[in-house]
């Protein structure tokens, strides 16, 4: 009985607490057990801590609630509904992976809650913004879309793979339909005419393949100079077998797992020699003073993995502050149109040694990117041509060396090391 009374009292107190203090409620949606999800969550936590310390936004303190997706699509929908209708949040920050984001997007269109995606880079979502700007108005993605990543990869092919390494032909290993036919097609079509690299073959493989030996043998048999691996979520097996099998052929591509500091520990050091595209900032990426300070604060605050936030942690940190600044201007999050307009104007330029290093802004509606000739409304700004004076490149190529160090190899403006062949490959 005493217990019940206590419970009732505490319930009443918590009810009072939540009604007495007007506050802005931010919801986090993503996995609470993955490095990806935690990067976004912690980036958001730090931004909120700083904003609250500075007096909050619109005179209100910011509170954060989380909804775990467990990287499950249906759980993602439930999580979004929970944030929208049980927690009634004002703004949602997402560290969701591709299919999870696609899963809850219809809910976002329905609820019209301002939402910022920090990890998903699927160009299909930006296409939705173009087709239906009205219902997609609350949605922003502050990472360069995968299509822009792929486009810059073509330049990497021309400038490094062809010009420096002297490779003239490639075999593409693609995981199912990872980046969709469009992206694989883009790389395939552009590598030849733009970079002068001939695509010998495209081998599509099943994501659950146990033994990649036969696939590597097949790739070898094409006689191509190097392998380009296109995969999205689960690429550890192919790259680790590449190392274990000591495939006598250079390989580069996308390895999402290699984007965090834990990669070395998780692979027991067997990840040396792997290079991958990465959105910025990545491991091995030189940081400007503001980003460096963020990492220092992050490491002072959190002792568990990821020991350094992935790129989406930076996106969440700056993106959340921008979303709040936009809300200040628009008088809150309720008027989505006003918030959208204010958010589109957000522009944070970070410099390093007098050069524009990172820029957190958004593409406007109707603004055409000169290299690809298309628009990217509400997508994070990027620059596809050197010397990258408008914004940072859409991606960098990083390489884990066999001694456990990691650095950027491309674009040259951002490079701090050079692409090396794994030691087992004889020239």
């Amino acid at each position: 009985m005493k217990y019940a009374k206590g419970l009732g009292l505490s319930l009443a107190v918590s009810l009072l607490a939540s009604t007495a203090l007007a506050e802005i409620k931010v919801g986090f949606i993503g996995s609470l057990s993955s490095d990806t999800g935690l990067s976004t969550l912690r980036g958001a936590e730090m931004a909120i801590q700083e904003l609250n310390a500075a007096g909050g936004v619109l005179g209100q303190q910011i509170a954060l609630v989380t909804a775990d997706t467990g990287e499950d699509v249906t759980e993602g929908v439930k999580a979004y509904e929970y944030l929208a209708e049980t927690e009634e949040v004002d703004f949602i920050i997402s560290g969701s992976i591709d299919d999870v984001s696609l899963g809850w997007l219809p809910r976002m269109q329905e609820y019209q809650i301002p939402t910022l995606d920090t990890w998903t880079s699927y160009i299909g979502i930006i296409d939705m913004v173009i087709e239906d700007p009205e219902t997609m108005a609350p949605y922003f993605m502050n990472i360069a879309s995968d299509e822009a990543l792929a486009t810059l990869y073509i330049s990497f092919g021309a400038d490094v793979l062809k010009a420096k390494m002297g490779w003239e032909s490639v075999v593409i290993l693609a995981e199912d339909t990872a980046f969709g036919g469009a992206i694989t097609g883009l790389v395939t079509d552009a590598l030849g005419p733009v970079a002068g690299i001939e695509v010998k073959d495209i081998i599509t493989y099943d994501i659950n393949t146990v033994d990649f030996g036969p696939i590597f043998s097949k790739a070898k048999a094409t006689g191509a100079d190097f392998i380009y691996q296109v995969s999205s979520v689960n690429p550890q097996v192919i790259s680790s077998q590449y190392v274990k099998l000591q495939v006598p052929m250079p390989m580069t591509g996308v390895n999402v797992a290699a984007l965090g500091m834990e990669y070395w520990e998780d692979t027991g050091g067997a990840g040396g020699g792997i290079s991958t595209l990465s959105p910025v900032p990545s491991v091995g990426f030189d940081l400007d003073p503001v980003s460096a300070q963020f990492v220092a604060d992050y490491q002072a605050k959190y002792s568990t993995r990821p020991s350094m936030p992935h790129f989406n942690g930076f996106n969440a940190y700056h993106g959340l502050k921008q979303a709040m600044a936009a809300a200040s201007e628009a008088g809150g999050f309720q008027d989505v149109k006003a918030w959208n307009a204010a958010m589109l104007k957000q522009d944070l330029k970070l410099e390093k040694d007098g050069k524009l290093w990172l820029r957190y802004g958004f593409w406007q509606h109707g603004e055409v990117e000169p290299v690809t000739g298309r628009t990217y409304p509400q997508n994070g700004l990027f620059d596809l041509s050197p010397p990258y004076e408008d914004a940072q490149p859409s991606m960098v190529v990083i390489q884990w060396k066999e001694d456990g160090t990691v650095g950027v190899v491309y674009p040259f403006e951002y490079a701090n090391t050079e692409l090396e062949l794994p030691s087992w490959i004889k020239n």
């Binding site: 609470l32 057990s33 989380t66 909804a67 775990d68 467990g70 499950d72 699509v73 249906t74 929908v77 439930k78 509904e81 929970y82 209708e85 049980t86 927690e87 591709d98 299919d99 696609l102 899963g103 809850w104 997007l105 219809p106 809910r107 269109q109 329905e110 699927y122 299909g124 979502i125 939705m128 239906d132 995981e175 199912d176 339909t177 990872a178 969709g180 036919g181 599509t204 099943d206 994501i207 999205s232």
Partner: protein, 315 residues
């Protein structure tokens, strides 16, 4: 059929309760109820096939997924009206059910469970590889037309659907067919000996189950507005459906509904206390314990309590 007044009263009360709920609970709870309703439909579909006959399906998402994907592809890629797409999806699902039926005519027990699992895995693979331009490949599709907007409408639609399916299935199992299906589960050769065609019976159970699965799947996808292979053809989804039936009480139709509501709410109400992966661990653990120690399910527990009360009252 042995229908009694209290049967009507119970179903009537249930309907009334569903109709009044939006007045009583928050919108967030309604959203959870919608998921519970759909899970209940899938659980009833599973129960129709596996609850009585002993043919345990480990691949039920195969049927649900075919219904969902067919309707999603028809409306999204070919601009077919939803009113037409859903019936087509149901028919396609029933045809798919027939295909699974063929091997099932010859095997039972664990082998049947495995072949259904294999069908589900096959579908998972095929959806990603064959015509990704239609299925959306690994990432699936978003922006599929939804039938309703808002929690209340979605709740009413799913409740009506679930209620109609539940009553129909419940009535069906009270006919002689239901009895024959139970007999099929107990002793297949005895049923054969009594002159009934086991093939026809099995086919009936399959078709009924596929009908409900296809219908539920199609409505489900037009509620979600999105679809992904990982969300459907997944062993975790199988787990949820089967556990809902068993925890509620197999072969009772009412049981699976109870189980579906229990599981959905258990998972949702753990969220504020255990935000992360602990939630699934506790949830699975409770499911395991309940199943181990109450294999007949919550329905049986309630009925037992009811009967003992009844006895005491009449004494």
């Amino acid at each position: 059929m042995g229908l009694r007044w209290f049967h009507f009263a119970a179903w009537g009360l249930f309907a009334l309760g569903l109709a009044l709920l939006p007045e009583l609970v928050s919108k967030g709870t309604l959203r959870t109820l919608i998921f519970a309703n759909y899970l209940a439909i899938f659980a009833i579909s599973w129960d129709l096939l596996s609850g009585r006959t002993g043919y345990i399906s480990f691949g039920h998402p195969f049927l649900i997924g075919i219904g969902a994907y067919t309707s999603a592809i028809l409306t999204k890629r070919f601009g077919v009206e939803v009113e037409i797409a859903i019936p087509i999806a149901v028919i396609v699902t029933m045809i798919a059910g027939l295909i699974v039926l063929l091997p099932a005519l010859r095997i039972r027990g664990s082998y049947f469970a495995l072949v259904t699992l294999a069908f589900m895995e096959l579908m998972y693979q095929l959806v990603q590889v064959i015509r990704p331009d239609l299925t959306g490949g690994t990432r699936g599709m978003s922006g599929i037309q939804t039938l309703t907007r808002g929690a209340v409408n979605g709740f009413y639609l799913s409740s009506v659907l679930m209620f109609v399916i539940a009553v129909a299935a419940w009535l069906l199992l009270r006919t002689r067919i239901g009895t024959a299906l139970t007999a099929l589960g107990l002793n297949e050769s005895a049923v054969e000996g009594s002159g009934l065609s086991t093939t026809k019976l099995k086919m009936f159970a399959f078709m009924a189950s596929a009908f409900v699965a296809g219908l539920g799947g199609a409505f489900y996808v037009h509620y979600l507005g999105s679809i992904a292979p990982r969300a459907l053809f997944d062993i975790n989804f199988v787990f949820t459906i089967i556990v809902a039936v068993l925890i509620g009480g197999a072969s009772t139709i009412v049981g699976p509904i109870i189980g579906a509501f229990f599981l959905t709410f258990l998972l949702e109400y753990l969220r504020p206390f255990l935000p992360g992966a602990e939630r699934y661990f506790i949830y699975g653990g409770i499911a395991l314990l309940l199943y181990m120690y109450q294999p007949k399910g919550i329905y049986a527990m309630v009925m037992k309590a009811w009967h003992s009360l009844h006895e005491r009252a009449t004494k």
